[in-house]
Symmetry: C2
Amino acid sequence: MKRKSVDHMPCPVARSLERVGDWWNILVLRDAFYGVRRFDDFQASLGIATSTLARRLDSLVDSGLLERRLYCQRPPRYEYVLTETGRDFRPVMLALLAWGNRHFAPEGPSVELADRATGARIDPVFVDRLTGRPVTDAYVVAGPAASDALRRRFDDMRGPSARLEDPPASIEHKRHSTKENDG
Amino acid sequence: MKRKSVDHMPCPVARSLERVGDWWNILVLRDAFYGVRRFDDFQASLGIATSTLARRLDSLVDSGLLERRLYCQRPPRYEYVLTETGRDFRPVMLALLAWGNRHFAPEGPSVELADRATGARIDPVFVDRLTGRPVTDAYVVAGPAASDALRRRFDDMRGPSARLEDPPASIEHKRHSTKENDG
């Protein structure tokens, strides 16, 4: 299951995914967010083989998302807790939860978010930290550390295509001329 | 590479991940958000084999995240555009981008988000859609469609452990007594 690494890519999405690997790792992180810390509890929750779970926990420790912590000396027993980097993965988890509830829960949500103080249900949406404005018309730009190649790529994409969302229908049908292969 | 399906799990995170599979699929989606639509452009961006890319695009079409659209009749050529479900994946992508910039870009960000109207850089944070309050003290609760088993599980986790974030240090070290195996 060795896969091509994307760590050489400057893209922050690629580098992030490199740390969480496939989705089983994300389910381990999900359980860690829910408060699971011990091997047996992870296993009971996920229903995967001991060796597979051990490998996943090790890889999340190696990536710096979980920390292995001794909680019993005789015999030595470890638990797994989120590091700061791991805790910062929380918005990704919230976004996945909201997306799943919206599109893949035809019977209604079985898991929801609630505000601890009020108990009210929460529907998370992104706003800009500084201005509080909804992030609806954002686009990607080259940052200070971008290579020249990346800069050119983003310049090429400037305009409706770099919006991080689908362009409106009026723009959508203008680009039909280029001849390209379809796999 | 056939993996165990998690689609029977009621968890919306698990169901979401089932749709995007491993992280190469998410990179395909990333490019779709950046405006890439054609096979050759995906391939130039991702540098993966034709057959692999074709399989990934097919799986994203099957999962309802991309739509295959004829853009040239002779010869028949297709492009791949985000469906509504695919576009709704955007917050996950934004969260991954922000996380990557925060933790895995020691040289500084090479990709950033900017507001289309003002050009100002955007730092996305989650707030509740209704109240506008930051989502900092949210916890997961059983939703209307939760099974009895899931309800019990969340009841067990009630309290600091179901916060979707690490409990404060004062709470963190109280649970050391249960004896469990470590893999």
